[in-house]
Amino acid sequence: MSSELNIIEGESTPITKPAPATHADVKAKVESKNWFYTDIVKDHFFNPRNILINDADAEKLEFDGVGMVGSPACGDGMKMWIKVDKKNDKIVDCKWQTFGCASAIGSTSMLSVMVTENGGVPVQKALELKPMDIMNRLGGLPNRKFHCSVLGDKALRAAINDHFRRSGQTERIIVEGARIIDPDLKITDKDIEEAVLDGADTIEKVQHKLKVGVFNKSCLPAVEELIRFYKEKYFG
């Protein structure tokens, strides 16, 4: 697999390829403060949109759903609040908090914009969002940062499920895939299936995409088994 990103065409945001993420060491004596992120990621990192600074505001703003994914031990953690216009079944506000690297912060920030722009996004549309959509809007993420957009997406889904639960729409709750493989990161067999379909054919490559089992190693045998299963299923 090449070190460059697979980018889906058709988004309005100009897409620039990120620098290959092979070396993270900081350069000395540089005029510009180059990093290996796109300008859009940097912009969302330095000027994050829709942050919930004060936990007390969560009460005041009367959110309809809240979701959380990750843990400080994993190195990434995201919490997302949504407000839903119930009459039109639209997400009208989205606030968040993130512990993690610049791309994790950038991904959550971008996602919060994506689900609230143009006067709000129908809940159904929000559920159809894919991690790849977040990444495309960010102008790409280095390969091994892809999991950041996966986590953002999962936090949003958790918040939407919470909204369904609170508003009594239990039939709309989406049970994550069939089963959760990595309980810390809520990675499911479906995520692994998608990663394999996307060309990740070894545990290392799947981990680069999903970060699955990096912290919670007890799930690694299950991950390996699934990779083997999906490889055989799709590639013979």
Partner: protein
């Protein structure tokens, strides 16, 4: 945006000195000969390589033929460990859990080839004891390799004491001294080591040049076979410019060693005290005194090191982190985990390694920027961890007291 770059990543790479560059310049275009050639152009190159070897031998207090120039610290380490392993064909090797990956991955590879490896655990400060080494030595132990100073947390290992144990037990000893080149004792006779690795790019010299001292009598299989260069231990035409630059850099850094150590230790303790005072829930990684003069490494709860590094970078401050996010493997620092701290601390670790150019003004700038940067990330973090859940109040207090003592001295 024309802020001065405050480069605090000297453990990763030191800027090459102007004098070193000037010493190297003639050997690219003008003195192009092969030191192995029997003609005047080649002879000129050979003389300069010999001269450089003499300089290095004088500083390390060894014979010139005990020195092998290599393609860097990693290659020297590979040659030392695999070279002994291949010469002995089988056996047991002892190392530590906090070594650089050049050592760890070499040892792991040898494990696959049938060698047995013991990875000694370290204490909270990153130290192994000579007793641990003694207890681990077996009749079939062929090599002990322990780093001189840690690249991440700066802890200085008790090398002479470990060497004493190895000598008693008649086991070969190698040390990866890549991080120790500027500040520590490099006299291999005084240290008593059998093998000793140095790296040009950590001593204000060129990248891609390393040195391996191998005591006469130590059997070593070469890894690179070729034209018999470096006493037959490392084939390939000598990197003349690199070797000349390496020797120059080593010589210059030795000259100012004492003076620089005194200056840097003051700055190090000033920076550490400032960070611990002004940033809540921050802890020092490594040892308060047995540490490199230029190394400060702290872990900060609730935030992630890569994001912090990026914020600092925006202020022109170049630092490093042990966070998983900057590692290729997505695993956080094995060193910080090895000291017994949980993952949360490894993700939130930040390393400042000062250098010759670092001034008090630079450190003041770091101390000005850091608390605000941490506060900014904490404001958007969903976590508010309690330090005492990870480190007891008593341990925290003891650490602070020990540290305050250091500062007062």
């Amino acid at each position: 945006m024309t802020e001065k770059t405050i480069y605090l990543d000297n453990a990763a790479a030191t800027p090459m000195r102007q004098e070193v560059k000037e010493a190297m310049d003639p050997f690219y275009v003008d003195v192009y000969g092969n030191p192995g050639s029997f003609n005047s152009v080649g002879h000129e190159a050979l003389q300069q390589v010999d001269e450089a070897r003499k300089t290095a031998a004088r500083i390390l207090n060894c014979a010139e033929r005990e020195l092998i120039f290599t393609g860097g610290g990693t290659e020297s380490i590979n040659l030392a460990i695999k070279g002994v392993a291949f010469a002995k064909k089988k056996g047991h090797i002892i190392t530590t859990t906090v070594e650089h990956h050049a050592v760890l991955h070499t040892c792991e590879w040898l494990e696959k080839q049938g060698f047995e490896i013991t990875y000694l655990p370290v204490d909270r400060c990153g130290l192994v004891t000579p007793e641990q080494v003694r207890d681990a030595i077996r009749p079939d132990t062929i090599l002990v390799t322990v780093m001189y100073a840690n690249n991440e947390i700066g802890t200085i290992m008790p090398i002479p004491e470990i060497v004493k144990v190895c000598k008693e037990k008649r086991v070969l000893f190698h040390t990866d001294a890549c991080q120790a080149g500027c500040s520590q004792n490099l006299n291999v006779k005084e240290l008593g080591v059998d093998m000793f690795t140095l790296n040009g790019s950590k001593i204000y010299g060129p990248k891609g040049v390393g040195l391996l001292y191998v005591r006469l009598g130590v059997q070593l299989e070469p890894l690179v076979h070729g034209g018999g260069q470096e006493g037959g231990k490392r084939g390939g035409t000598e990197n003349v410019a690199g070797i000349v630059g390496f020797a120059k850099a080593l010589e210059l850094s030795q000259k100012e060693k004492e003076q620089e150590n005194t200056r840097l230790i003051k700055l190090r303790d000033y920076l550490t005290a400032g960070l611990l005072q002004h940033i809540p829930k921050a802890v020092l990684n490594g040892h308060p005194t047995k540490r490199l003069p230029n190394n400060v490494n702290v872990s900060i709860l609730d935030i992630e090191g890569e994001a912090l590094t990026l914020l600092l970078n925006e202020h022109g401050i170049c630092a490093s982190t042990g966070s998983a996010c900057t590692s290729g493997s997505l695993e956080p620092s094995h060193v910080i985990l090895a000291t017994g701290l949980p993952y949360e601390f490894a993700h939130g670790s930040i390393r400042f390694t000062m250098g010759r150019d670092t001034t008090k003004e630079d450190i003041d700038k770091v101390l000005e920027v850091m608390p605000a940067a941490v506060q900014r990330l904490r404001a958007i973090s969903p976590y508010n961890l309690k330090l005492e859940e990870y480190i007891s109040k008593e341990e925290q207090q003891a650490m602070m007291e020990q540290y305050t003592k250091v500062i007062v001295q």
